[in-house]
Subunit: 404 residues, 2 copies
Amino acid sequence: MTYDRQEILKKIVNKNDTKMILLVMDGVGDIPIDAKTPLMCADTPNLDKLAKESELGQTIPVLRGITPGSGPAHLSLFGYDPLKYEIGRGILEALGIDVEVGEKDLVARGNFATVEGDIVVDRRAGRPATEENARVCEIINSKIEEIRGVKVRVFPGKEHRFVVKFTGDNLSDNLSDADPQKNGLPIVFTEPTSDDNSAKFTAEVVNEFLKNLKEILKNEPKLNFGLLRGFSKYPDLPNFEKVYRVKAAAIATYPMYKGLAKLVGMNVIPTGQSIEDELKTLEEIYNDYDFFYFHVKKTDSYGEDGNFDMKVKIIEETDSIIPEILNLNPDVLVVTGDHSTPAFMKSHSWHPVPYMLYSKYARKGLCQRFDEFECAKGTLGTFYSIDSMSLILAHAQRLEKYGA
Amino acid sequence: MTYDRQEILKKIVNKNDTKMILLVMDGVGDIPIDAKTPLMCADTPNLDKLAKESELGQTIPVLRGITPGSGPAHLSLFGYDPLKYEIGRGILEALGIDVEVGEKDLVARGNFATVEGDIVVDRRAGRPATEENARVCEIINSKIEEIRGVKVRVFPGKEHRFVVKFTGDNLSDNLSDADPQKNGLPIVFTEPTSDDNSAKFTAEVVNEFLKNLKEILKNEPKLNFGLLRGFSKYPDLPNFEKVYRVKAAAIATYPMYKGLAKLVGMNVIPTGQSIEDELKTLEEIYNDYDFFYFHVKKTDSYGEDGNFDMKVKIIEETDSIIPEILNLNPDVLVVTGDHSTPAFMKSHSWHPVPYMLYSKYARKGLCQRFDEFECAKGTLGTFYSIDSMSLILAHAQRLEKYGA
């Protein structure tokens, strides 16, 4: 089957005054240790009560067996085909450190590196302190303002990482990585990967930047060069609010997720750092929007750390705000993850993601609690995350009949 | 979504030192008689124990409701889109009787037939003894060596069936069947189904062969002509070992399955006729490969015969080698079928196929035994067989994250 999901929805979506909440516990799915997953170990009276009033299922973020990054996993949940739309690594890195990216921008991930002559001897420049990184970025920004009419800025990340942003007309991201990938190899410059003038021009600008960088940093003992990877322009994504005819608010604490929400056209609402803060924000803005993306980050962070117990705790903390969310009386509340992050694996994984949809139109009553096994047997079955948006809109009675 | 699965996997697949075994019980899926399928009737302590340590699901070989032949069913399991790649019937027939087929070969299925004048009076020539068939094939091969530079050989099959192989440059399989399909109708010659010279030339060669055949066999009382169907050239399939970056061994007793494995580029390992022999082969070559396709044929054969009890016995025989397979300590072991062959139907069917995946990363613990009903409620859900390869590679930790 080949079709664009959003093209279909656009034709049948209506506005009404329903409210929809998509609560994403990042990486919540897990695999059992001693027969229990964190969701099974957690004391979650509110989620379990909700499960009895909801319809459950499990989602495949991209394809079975494919472990998604945060980009494709969120795109799917927002109803964008993750195999059609790609969010470049440069963009994600930029979003992750809160760098604004617009349509005229080209961004890339950078590593500060140590070179001796033309040889890269340390691709991570000895993993400098973040302050050291910031100091060098400031030097660069003070010495390079623009190259051939293209504005250049660098932004410090953690340790050796930085982001470079080029702003100008007619920039292209058809560029190869400027990175030898291994220590002990000579410096590599970028090359255009397409035949047009835009790519050639951009490659010249980037390479001139790299040569300037080498000159400017020649007296630095360690951070004396930069490697650039993942050149990416602002992706051209259909606008979430226009496709689904909603006013959409994003409540998230981490820059990358705010950035992803902004990329698709949601309104990112300033909030605090805790789940409680996010709840307060939701309550404050509840009358002003009709779709709410509510992101809980730390289920994933503790999964990545292999910290099973703290993942359990974050689930319990999320459970505790469910009554207040329900007090808002949403027409649809979905509780799910963007992907699984098993604590045992300390990484994202391909495992299906628990999914629970609460609505008065749900075919409720089969499942007793919210965990991987109950979701696996739920009436929604196993489905692709990209189906979530149409399920949400359907339960909000915003979708017209398809055909007569 | 429209994409080529293997193109995606190729970009994210890595090598490591894991071992993966795909154990295919041909046609193992069934439907219940007196509430029980052969898998449910069989005494399978080892498979059931494995089920508790595994993740279960059920697969759709091609599409729901579509009964697959062995070709598409196996292609799917090997991760090839069965709707994109077609293995011609001529090729399958040739593989089935162990005829080597190469890139310059064109093969077709043949029936020996009885003609009177130009009328086909018996399309199966009275179902001759296989020896009679072999005798006539020998006559043909001794009288016809080549036609217009194209080498011709015939190979006897069972009863009236044979395979003809044409070897030469520039042959085409765009040819209509040379078969009136019914008794009592005149002889039919092949016609090119495309407009190119290659198809025209090949049709001329084939028709000259048929005319020679009629002349050579004119004094035979019954086997005095041949009908040809399913002209096919060697299919151009991506190489299994290159796509998945594995060293792959195929252990199978029947020529067709060895042939299918060879077509996709696996190494076919000589083995004996029993499941025990196949196990021994697996043990002997275990260090030399990292992917193993292990084929058990007789679950299907007894299904086709309608022999429920013997199907049960073959399942039990397969169960008995599970401990020895586990002793090899594979990282991933999948036990499944290529399709269902319900004994009650005496034929392949469209029913989903039980699927069990054993790995330390499996979301195990929901299911108690290996049968159709437990698999239907498993955490892997219902999925297309084409997903199996990505699941196997994922559990072997051979797939990189998709996107950032």
